[in-house]
């Protein structure tokens, strides 16, 4: 096997076929990026889900002085005796894992921290608009959450009971929707990529038919004749993957980070997650380019 010869034939082929090769690289890059983005969204949801499984599950927000909730009409915020009453009520529910009281000040501090990126909201929210709360961790979310909510709802001093899960559900639904849209587009683009690979290889083989017919005449083995085209297809796929990797890194750092500032409940993805997605993209890209090139050659390069 003469690598030098194969390499020079591949190089000649790529140059002659440059426009189509570039088109192929672009399509592969975009489709792999979209596929990768979909995978990143899936991972984001999974990570967030597993993180929050063991965290705070129920938040009982208490009345602030300016609260407009039905139960706070008295206006003046929750009184210490009401806080004590609520606390003992919660303690009576045996299935709570932990109950934590967050003071108004602590809550305000946390609010400022979480929305640090969102200046307008911080500026226009007064200190006494952030309520104190009881953060409750439950043993058995579904059933107990409903029960505790029922008990707390309407108790004096309780503004609202929020099941954190419902907020997260919105987050999950948003990401799932985005993921579905992205994956559908990715599939269309992958089909386009397959067709483009087939067409590019076919065009390349046609452009080189003079060389190919002489090669066959002179007794070059079939493998040797097909190899330069196969390598051409794989190289285009590889470059497409490299571009896709760059795009995916961009997606992770830009898109998902901005998602974080809107939804501070998400858990950011690790580098390992990104690497996993990039490897999956590479395998998909190589498989598609390799097999399509091979099948096209069998059809159009008569041996």
């Amino acid at each position: 096997m003469r690598f030098q010869f194969v390499f020079s034939e591949v190089w000649i082929g790529l140059r002659r076929n440059l426009t189509m090769t570039v088109a192929l690289i672009v399509v592969v890059a975009i489709s792999l990026s979209l596929l990768g983005t979909g995978l990143l969204f899936v991972k984001q949801v999974d990570n967030t889900r597993s993180y929050w499984q063991s965290r705070v599950q129920l938040s009982v927000y208490l009345c602030t002085p300016s609260d407009v909730a039905a139960n706070c009409e008295r206006n003046g915020g929750v009184t210490p005796s009401e806080v004590a009453a609520i606390k003992s009520e919660l303690l009576a529910t045996h299935d709570t894992l932990s109950i934590q009281y967050v003071t108004a000040d602590a809550a305000y501090k946390q609010f400022r921290q979480e929305f640090a990126n969102n200046e307008p909201i911080v500026r226009y929210t007064a200190r006494n608009q952030i309520p104190p709360s009881f953060e409750i961790r439950l043993k058995n979310t579904q059933a107990d959450a409903a029960q505790v909510t029922e008990v707390m709802d309407g108790a004096p001093g309780v503004s609202q009971v929020v099941n954190d899960a419902s907020i997260l559900d919105q987050f999950y639904r948003l990401l799932d929707g985005a993921r579905n849209a992205v994956v559908v587009i990715a599939i269309f683009l992958l089909v386009a990529a397959i067709l483009l690979v087939a067409n590019t290889i076919r065009l390349s083989a046609f452009n080189r038919r003079r060389e190919t017919s002489i090669m066959r005449l002179v007794g070059a083995s079939n493998f040797y004749v097909q190899l330069p085209f196969l390598v051409e297809g794989m190289i285009a796929g590889l470059f497409g993957w490299l571009v896709a990797t760059g795009l995916l890194i961009g997606v992770k750092s830009v898109l998902l980070s901005s998602l974080q500032s809107i939804f501070p409940y998400g858990v950011s993805l690790s580098t390992a997650d990104l690497v996993e997605v990039i490897i999956v993209a590479m395998i998909t890209g190589l498989l598609i380019c390799g097999s399509t090139s091979f099948l096209t050659l069998r059809r159009y390069l008569r041996v």
């Binding site: 003079r210 002179v218 007794g219």
Partner: protein, 229 residues
Amino acid sequence: MIHFDNVTKTYANQSRPALENVSLDVEKGEFVFLVGPSGSGKSTFLRLVLKEERPTSGRIHVAGKDLARLTNWKVPHLRRRIGCVFQDFRLLPNKNVYQNIAFALEVIGKPRRFIRKVVPEVIDLVGLEGKRERMPDELSGGEQQRVAMARAFVNRPMILLADEPTGNIDPATSIGIMKVLDRINRTGTTVVMATHDAAIVDSMRKRVIELEYGKVVRDQSRGVYGQAY
């Protein structure tokens, strides 16, 4: 070397067979002219020897091997032992003389050292010394055909097939081409040449096989082009 046993070849969509019940033997080292009008089956004969086509019936043996039993992946090995020259030269326009000849060796995986040794020898054999770096469009028709012959011969094939090699070349230059072919034949290579060129055939007095409508009508050693009545 080449043995045809009752070979018939009919192409699809055609009623008349291109070759019909052809039986003949070509011995090692022979020089054979294949003559006949257009469509008589000369090119078909050559393609069957190369296994570019398969016979509709009959057996073909090349260098002792039954072509029918030859598997597809062994066909390249057969073709390496057969050199081919065509009327349209079939050179690669973007490669010079040396590279065109070297190409034939590169694609079958011969090492660079071997190529560097063998290609200049064969360039000298065909009389093109000093023209190594020329591109095909800088060569005359005769010179291009010599390059093609050098390429066909560089791997020392057992058989050299020529399909109307002097078709695009003037009579005077054709003589030069035939001298090269003769030189190649003297090294022991079996040569089968399909041709219309009556003058060449008459002047060389080699074995002549005449085809008409796919059938062998004459097989004469030291023959001439037309019927020698």
